[in-house]
Every structure is written in structure tokens, then in C-alpha cells.
């Protein structure tokens, strides 16, 4: 007979274990510790908060404030579970206005680290506590300046499994930075300082809300922001929304607060984006910092242990209110700042742009006709100027280029066999029998319709071009051997704190591609670019890769792919672009020379086929 499994008796878990389990929910990583501790500091009325981390907080975190401190008895209680000074009864849970309230933060942090607390209340009689593995090791009375200092060493030392899941030092530091950025935005009247590995990363002095935005994101951003402040139906919405210059791919910098608490809300994000309407290009998002203030009973903050998500009582109503308020703010903007940039090929637009900035001045008083917006055709016939990976056009002859493309398309078709490519005729053939041959048809300046041997294909012109450019860029990138064209004038890279950390994470990949740089005191100087790159402003490309990396939350395996995708998306012709026969034909020829002509780099379909069989069925023609 087989052994029966030994049945273990059910029993209550020891308190320390409960804390360790619970810690996983609230304390995911060093940044969560920083968040809980800083929230406590703010609730204690601090006017300055100093944060020191080592190894991104994995080895050491210290948060020091000048808040009200705790009396010795309170201090002892604070490190026990569900001890909080902020809630006395269940009823009060409905009206929580302080940041931390669940009363588990200190206890759970203490359960998974070597913990040290030193606090001095106004009376001057303070307490110093040492805790390891959730147990009080030692305590001593202390005196000094009012305030609290908490040190957390070796986070998760007692739960190695969790420790293993932490990311690199830079990754963790980035999360700390993001956390403090949110806190800093919500509390501009408080001074914040962050020191990492003995180096001060920032020191934000107490300031107005707007100045704080400048401190956090760089002052250059302020000129691209529109302030908003509206109160509708008891909901106050204030903050700043960005103009076109702040648009970034993916969910760049979008900061939302409810009653001072940083939260994530797809609903509100969506409402903001909806307010931009068509001025917002696909897959891009604007910068915003938005503070919502309302009766605390209208939001439920106790949904998520880390209090990052909230629920609203009337979600549809909220969506409409936010959208209206943002629309209002945007309507205050000068029109030019909302419309997309003019193409550089347009000399008038260029002249106007330069005229605005410190560019060339116009020699003429331009005639007072407003420039009509017209995108230039960055099509396959003419190589786009800002596409860096194309071999330079010889003599700039568009026609030559076209022939080259066709030649390569034919070569590719021969290689892959004709099956992959529907019967699309080439330019030469088209020229020979222009009459009598069915042409291509452009539908709503968005889709190209073409006859094939077995029916009809419909191609989305934008994604088709995107796919072509993507593969071309990727090929160019993969063939890079890391040789680097040295720059005569090293170019400084202006990166925000967060971007710099991402940049450092990707440094090796960038170097492999042939970027070379010098770093000095946190500044990055670009000294060389991949020899393959035809551009004197590689900063934009680097920024795109960083954005892409942030969107994919670090999952992107190859910076090259991000680079290629972002280049392709930018340079591809858009829907609404009229195309002539030759342009459409070239586009199709090149598309079907691609390795994967049927999906775009983001996975959207490129081609829809409608077979003769299907048509026959629909017309009851058997």
C-alpha cells in the first residue's frame, strides 16, 4: 500500500510570517519602501525630505524628514502591524485624506529588512529602535532636532526569492526616481533631495507647482505646457497639459493625482487623450500633470494594497468632465502649437519656424496668406531626407531611385518565388502597356486597391510603407559592425534623470551599434555615431529608443528593433496622402519584396485580400 501523504495540522501562521507574506503586496521593491516612508514623512508635516539610496535601494535606503516625529510609545507601536495613527475606526476609512493609512507599512518593511528608526517629537524626547527580521533587537532614548530618520538595510534579505526578482541597480534606481518625482509633483512646497551612491541626483527647493514641474522635468518643458484649473460639479482639475512638442511615443510622462495621491487611471488618461482628438498622432501621448480634487467619499482608494489604483463613483461622468477641462485648456493655446510640425521641405514653414526661434530672419515681409498644411510625400519614389539608413541617392534622381527599388524588388521576388507576390506589374511593364492595363485605385487616400490573379487586394498605404522602411532599417542595423564615424564636434545629449538611467542600461547595445561617448559628471557627450548613420542629429534617434524601451517596460530585446520601428513609423507616408499610379505601384512592389509583407512592425495587418470566389458568392454567381 502506498504511503499516505502526512497530513499537516492547520494552524495560525506566526505573526512574523504574516508580515512577510503581506510585505510582498505592499513592498514590491525598494521604490515601494521609499514611497511608504516618504508618505509617512509628508503626513508628519515635513518641509524637507532627504532620500539616500545605495545600489538602487537594494542595499540601503534612508529617508529623513523634519516632520513632527513620534513619541517613544507611538514609535514602538508604529512598527507593529496595522498600527496607524491615521485611522481609529472603520467609519473613518471613508474619509481618508492622509497618504498612508493601512498601518502596515513600517511593520512590513521591518519584517523584510534590517530596520532602524530614529524619531524625535517636539518634546525633544525621542527613541532609537533597531529591528531585524521583524524582531526588536535594541532600543535607546535619543534627543536632537525634531524629525524622523529611517534606515532600511538589505531589503528582502530574509526572503531571497523576492530579492532575486529585483532588477539591476539602475532599474531600481529608476523606480525610486519615478516614485519621488510623483511625490515631488504633488508636494511642491516640500523640499526633496535624492542621493545615490554618494552623488546628489537632484535637490528640489520648495516652489510653486509650476516651478516644481520645471525642477522635475527641466525648465525647457515649461514653455510647451498649458496650465489648467477648473472646477466642475465639485471636481477640481488643475495642472498642466503639453502641446505638440511634448508628444512622445507610448505613455511618456503622464502624472495623475487624486487628492494628492499619485494614481494610475486608464480612464483619466483616455479622457485627456480624447481631448486632443486628431491633433494627437497615433500611438503618441502628450505630457500632463493633473491633480484631481474632490470629496474623498467619491473615490475608493482601498482597491490596491499599494494604493496605486482607485475607483470612482461615476466613471462616465468623470471622463466627460476631464475631457471638457482639458479641451478648454487646449483651446487657450496658440493654434500653431497644436498643429503638427510643418515638413522641413516646406521652405516657408521652415522660414517661419526659424523666424520664431533663433533661426534665420526673413528678408521679406511674407504675403499674408496663411500657409496651408500639406505633408510632403515621403514616399518610396523619393528617399525621405531624414531617413538615415538609406544609401545616399546618386544624383538625387528620383527616377533612378525608383528603378533601383524595382530592381531589388524583382530580385527579391525571384529569390522567394512568385507565390509570395500577387500579380503586380512593374514600372517598365506598366510603361509599355499603359493603355488597357487595369490601374491601381486609391480609396479615400488611405487604401490602395489592386487586381490580382485571384481577386483583389486592399493595402493600407501607411502600414505598408512602415513595413518596407522597417525591414530596410533593420537590415541596415543588423549589418552594422560597430564602426563609428567620429564627430568633429562632440554633441551633448540632454537626457532627463530617468532617460539617463535607461540610457546607461542600454549603453552596451548603443556602443555595439557604433555610438561612442564620453561621460563626465552625469553629462553624456556623443563623440561618434554608427558609420551607417546618415545624420548629424542622432539625439532624436537615441531619444526614440529610450521612449520605446520605456513603453515596453524594458522587455525590448534589441534596441535595433526599437530604432528601426521608430524610424519607420516616423518616415512612413500617412493616410490621407494622395498617391499617383507610379507611387502606388512602387509601394506595392516594395511591399511584396519584404520578408513579412502582411503585418506592420506593430502587428497590424497590411493587406486584406478579397478573392474572386468570395465575390462570386456574394453576387450569387456560382
Amino acid at each position: 500500500m502506498a504511503d499516505l501523504p502526512v497530513r499537516r495540522p492547520v494552524r495560525l501562521l506566526p505573526a512574523a510570517l504574516i508580515h512577510k507574506i503581506a510585505a510582498g503586496e505592499v513592498i514590491e521593491r525598494p521604490a515601494s519602501v521609499v514611497k511608504e516612508l516618504v508618505e509617512n514623512s509628508l503626513d508628519a508635516g515635513a518641509t524637507r525630505v532627504d532620500v539616500v539610496v545605495e545600489a538602487g535601494g537594494k542595499n540601503f535606503i534612508q529617508v529623513e524628514d523634519d516632520g513632527c516625529g513620534m513619541a517613544p510609545d507611538d514609535a514602538r507601536l508604529s512598527v507593529e502591524a496595522h498600527a496607524t495613527s491615521k485611522l481609529a475606526s472603520l467609519e473613518e476609512l471613508d474619509t481618508v485624506l492622509t497618504l498612508g493609512f493601512r498601518g502596515e507599512a513600517l511593520a512590513t518593511i521591518a519584517a523584510v529588512s534590517r530596520f532602524e528608526l530614529r524619531t524625535v517629537p517636539a518634546s525633544g524626547e525621542g527613541l532609537h529602535l533597531w529591528i531585524a527580521d521583524g524582531r526588536l533587537q535594541d532600543e535607546a532614548p535619543t534627543t536632537g532636532e525634531r524629525g524622523t530618520r529611517i534606515m532600511v538595510r538589505n531589503l528582502f534579505f530574509s526572503t531571497p526569492a523576492r530579492r532575486k526578482f529585483l532588477s539591476s541597480t539602475r532599474g531600481e534606481l529608476r523606480h525610486v526616481l519615478i516614485t519621488l518625482r510623483r511625490m515631488g509633483l504633488a508636494h511642491p512646497q516640500v523640499a526633496f533631495r535624492l542621493v545615490s551612491e554618494g552623488q546628489e541626483l537632484f535637490h528640489w527647493q520648495p516652489a510653486s507647482g509650476q516651478v516644481r514641474v520645471g525642477q522635475v522635468f527641466g525648465e525647457h518643458l515649461l514653455e510647451h505646457l498649458l496650465p489648467m484649473d477648473q472646477e466642475i460639479q465639485g471636481l477640481r482639475m488643475r495642472g498642466w497639459v503639453g502641446t505638440v512638442n511634448t508628444f512622445r511615443r507610448g505613455g511618456g510622462d503622464q502624472h495623475l493625482f487624486i487628492n494628492g495621491r499619485p494614481i494610475v487611471s486608464r480612464l483619466v488618461n483616455h479622457a485627456v487623450m480624447a481631448a486632443y482628438g486628431h491633433t494627437l498622432p497615433r500611438e503618441q501621448s502628450p505630457f500632463f500633470v493633473l491633480f484631481l480634487e474632490c470629496d474623498p467619499r467619491r473615490v475608493d482608494v482601498n482597491v490596491h494594497p499599494a494604493k496605486r489604483e482607485v475607483r470612482f463613483d461615476d466613471e462616465q461622468g468623470l471622463h466627460a468632465l476631464v475631457q471638457r477641462a482639458v479641451e478648454h485648456a487646449l483651446s487657450q493655446a496658440p493654434v500653431a502649437s497644436l498643429s503638427p510640425r510643418q515638413t522641413p521641405e516646406d521652405p516657408l514653414a521652415l522660414a517661419m519656424e526659424r523666424d520664431e526661434g533663433a533661426g534665420r530672419l526673413l528678408p521679406f515681409a511674407p504675403a499674408p496668406t496663411p500657409p496651408s498644411r500639406q505633408d510632403s510625400f515621403l514616399g518610396p519614389v523619393q528617399a525621405p531626407r531624414d531617413l538615415p539608413f538609406l544609401p545616399q541617392e546618386k544624383g538625387g534622381m528620383a527616377r533612378e531611385g525608383l528603378r533601383e527599388y524595382l530592381a531589388s524588388a524583382h530580385a527579391a521576388r525571384e529569390r522567394f518565388g512568385d507565390d509570395a507576390a500577387p500579380a503586380v506589374v512593374s514600372l517598365e511593364e506598366e510603361e509599355r502597356r499603359r493603355d488597357g492595363e487595369p490601374g491601381l485605385f486609391q480609396l479615400h487616400r488611405t487604401y490602395i486597391m489592386a487586381q490580382t490573379a485571384s481577386g483583389l487586394i486592399i493595402v493600407d498605404q501607411h502600414v505598408a510603407h512602415e513595413r518596407i522602411l522597417y525591414e530596410r532599417c533593420l537590415r541596415a542595423l543588423r549589418s552594422m559592425r560597430g564602426n563609428s564615424q567620429r564627430l568633429l564636434f562632440p554633441q551633448p545629449l540632454e537626457l532627463g534623470e530617468e532617460d539617463r538611467l535607461i540610457f546607461e542600461e542600454l549603453l552596451e547595445a548603443f556602443m555595439q551599434m557604433g555610438f561612442t561617448m564620453e561621460m563626465s559628471q552625469g553629462d553624456v557627450l556623443l563623440t561618434g555615431i554608427p558609420a551607417e548613420l546618415r545624420t548629424v542629429h542622432p539625439e532624436g534617434l537615441i531619444q526614440d529608443v529610450l521612449d520605446q524601451f520605456r513603453i515596453e517596460a524594458g522587455l525590448l530585446p534589441e534596441p535595433g528593433q526599437a530604432l528601426a520601428a521608430s524610424v519607420a513609423c516616423k518616415a512612413a507616408i500617412k493616410a490621407g496622402q494622395p498617391l499617383n499610379q507610379v507611387e502606388m505601384r512602387t509601394l506595392l512592389d516594395e511591399l511584396f519584396a519584404c520578408e513579412q509583407p502582411f503585418t506592420c512592425p506593430h502587428g497590424r495587418p497590411v493587406v486584406v485580400t478579397l478573392g474572386l470566389g468570395e465575390l462570386n458568392r456574394r453576387f450569387d454567381r456560382s
Partner: protein, 373 residues
């Protein structure tokens, strides 16, 4: 408006002006040429708002209002006509212009001159004359090194630095740099430092006539006028700070290689045929008395190797360059012998003529391609 002009003369003017007309514009008026006629002379102007070009053309029987006519269409019509006098005349309501040559008659639309951008009155703050031929030769040797990237506007022009010791002219795209020091124009410091768009300079080089007559440069606050005979080229100056180029010109390059320009040039072009057609990278291996030029394209599977005799006594050195850049530089030197000055494989190399032209110094600089080890 009405005038008569010989076909050849008319075409020559139109062909010069068309260089200014922007190829793509959202401001349709810029596709036109503005005509202003007096009895014996017509003034033709084209502009892209940054650069404008005015020429004076001898005519007969000129009279009437100013008019703007589509440049390209007009030029194409005139180009195909016989060499006999052409008469231009507006129709009664002024909406069309009639072009007549012998039995041939064309009508094309025209517009009143009112919406054509008007030239500003300028206050000249400094003036200078220089031989056109000398300026032209400078522009030809500098123009290729100018950047065509609009995102760094200052590099899309040529720097004119009027100094006590010389006029320094500099062009760079951040990868290579050309500097000409013209000692004949030393001491013209009133003009200060200006960055002139290369488009305007190319127009000066190709659009102005003759080689003997001097061209006058008149500087006003934000623009510069080149005038010669009846022609005038206005250009806006590029504002912004030109990069501190002097600091990047190496002073310590002591590995000096001298060779015959035509042989080196051919060897570079030959090797470039087997170089990767995106990077155009070719490698120089220099050792005593010998330069080995190699190139390869792993993707395509091509390789080149060539040896050239040179005068060289410096350190053995391997350094790589973009062949396209080298080709252009060697093409724009005109001495029999040229001198390369190398530092290390990572640092800028200098390329100089063995003997400079009278009263000038020419220097070319090229940043190498750093090789992955």
C-alpha cells in the same frame, strides 16, 4: 505689360532665376518670377524668402505694370523657341500673358505683382569688394563640406570670418571641415563674422557673370547683398553660433605623408568600389614609403587591396575613412602633390595641398571611422 527680348538672352536669365524658385512650396506665389519693366530694361526677381535673385535684362519697347509669371512654365516655353525676338504682352484683363515668337503664340496665366513678397529696404552697415573669380574658387572648394541637415542650421552655411590677418572661410558638416584663409582680404574686420547659406553662395558662383569684375558684398543687419553689374543676390544670414572650429584642428599631427594627388585619388575611388555601400569605409595602412588601401564589404563579399608609393617616415598606422568624403576632398585639391597629416587612428587627419595658391592657406580635416576591435 509688354516688352520684346531676344530668345537667347531671355532664356539665359530665366535659367539662372529658376535656381532660386523653390521646388516645393505652400506659398504658390514663390513659383513665379516677378517682372518689372522700364523702356529699355526689365528687372526679373525670384525668391524663396531666404534668398532672392534679381537680374537686369536689356529689352525693347518695355511698358506697363509689374507682373508675376509662373517660372517653370515660362522657362520651358522659351527654351523650345527659335532664336528670334520674343514679345511678351498681357491681355486686356491682365489675367493672361501672351508669348509670341514668329508664328508661335502661347497664353499662360499671370498674376498681379501685389502679393509677390517685396524686398525690404536695407541699411548697409559695411561693404567690401572682392574679385568674383576668387570668391567663386573659394565657394567651389568649400561648398561640398557644408551640411544639408536643416536641424543644425549653422552648418548649412559657410562661415565668413573677417579678421585682421585674413578672411577665414569655413565649411563643415561635423565629419569633415574645410578652411580657406584668404590673406588678400585681411583687415576687413568691419564685416565681422557671418554665416551665409550655401544656396546663396552657389547662386553667386553660378549666377553672376564674368570673372574679372569685382562683386560687392553689402552687409545689413541680418542679411547680405551680393551685387555685380545689374544683378543682385539678397540672402538672409544664418543666425546662431558657429561651432568653435579652431579648437578641433589638430596641431600635433606629426605623421606626415606626401603623395601624388591623382594617384591617391584614383586608388581611393578604386577601393571604394568594393567598400560597403552604406558606410563607404576604406582603410589606410601607412608605413615607411608605402600606403596600403583596403576595403571590404562582408555583406556583398567584395574586397579590394592596393599599394601606393608615398613619402612617409612616421609611425606605422591603420586608420579608416569614409571614401566618399576622401574622394570629394581629393577632387577639390588642385596641386600635383598633397600632404596628409595623421595623429592617431582616433583623431582627425589633415589634408593639405603641397603648395598653396597665392595669398591663401587651404586646410581640409577629416574625422576617421573608429574600427571595432
Amino acid at each position: 505689360m509688354r516688352f520684346t527680348v531676344p530668345q537667347k538672352e531671355f532664356l539665359a536669365h530665366l535659367q539662372k532665376l529658376i535656381a532660386v524658385v523653390p521646388s516645393k512650396t505652400t506659398h504658390p506665389m514663390l513659383n513665379n518670377i516677378l517682372f518689372h519693366v522700364d523702356a529699355n530694361e526689365a528687372r526679373l526677381t525670384a525668391t524663396d524668402l531666404e534668398v532672392s535673385f534679381t537680374t537686369r535684362m536689356k529689352i525693347e519697347g518695355g511698358e506697363g505694370e509689374d507682373l508675376a509669371i509662373q517660372a517653370k512654365r515660362l522657362m520651358e516655353i522659351v527654351r523650345e523657341l527659335d532664336e528670334r525676338p520674343i514679345t511678351l504682352q498681357t491681355d486686356r484683363n491682365g489675367k493672361q500673358v501672351e508669348i509670341q515668337s514668329g508664328q508661335a503664340l502661347f497664353h499662360i496665366p499671370c498674376e498681379s505683382a501685389e502679393t509677390f513678397p517685396s524686398l525690404p529696404g536695407i541699411e548697409v552697415s559695411a561693404e567690401l569688394e572682392m574679385p568674383l573669380e576668387r570668391l567663386r574658387s573659394h565657394i567651389e572648394r568649400l561648398g561640398f563640406a557644408v551640411s544639408n541637415d536643416d536641424l543644425r542650421p549653422v552648418l548649412t552655411g559657410i562661415l565668413f570670418e573677417f579678421r585682421e590677418e585674413a578672411l577665414n572661410l569655413v565649411a563643415t558638416d561635423g565629419h569633415r571641415l574645410v578652411r580657406i584663409q584668404d590673406h588678400q582680404l585681411a583687415g576687413q574686420t568691419r564685416l565681422g563674422s557671418v554665416i551665409i547659406p550655401v544656396k546663396a553662395l552657389n547662386l553667386v558662383s553660378r549666377g553672376l557673370e564674368g570673372s574679372e569684375a569685382p562683386v560687392k558684398l553689402s552687409l545689413a543687419q541680418n542679411h547680405l547683398v551680393f551685387s555685380q553689374g545689374g544683378a543682385q543676390i539678397y540672402t538672409t544670414l544664418i543666425s546662431g553660433r558657429y561651432p568653435a572650429y579652431e579648437g578641433v584642428i589638430p596641431q600635433q599631427n606629426e605623421n606626415i605623408m606626401q603623395g601624388t594627388r591623382s594617384i591617391l585619388h584614383r586608388a581611393v575611388k578604386q577601393a571604394a568600389n568594393c567598400a560597403n555601400n552604406v558606410t563607404h569605409q576604406i582603410n589606410f595602412g601607412v608605413s615607411e614609403g608605402k600606403l596600403v588601401i583596403t576595403a571590404e564589404d562582408n555583406e556583398f563579399g567584395s574586397r579590394a587591396r592596393n599599394e601606393v608609393d608615398v613619402d612617409y617616415a612616421g609611425e606605422t598606422l591603420d586608420i579608416a575613412f569614409n571614401a566618399t568624403y576622401l574622394d570629394q576632398m581629393l577632387r577639390h585639391l588642385d596641386t600635383e602633390q598633397v600632404v596628409f597629416k595623421f595623429g592617431t587612428a582616433e583623431r582627425a587627419a589633415l589634408l593639405l595641398p603641397e603648395i598653396n595658391r597665392e595669398a591663401e592657406d587651404l586646410l581640409m580635416l577629416l574625422m576617421p571611422v573608429r574600427l571595432m576591435r
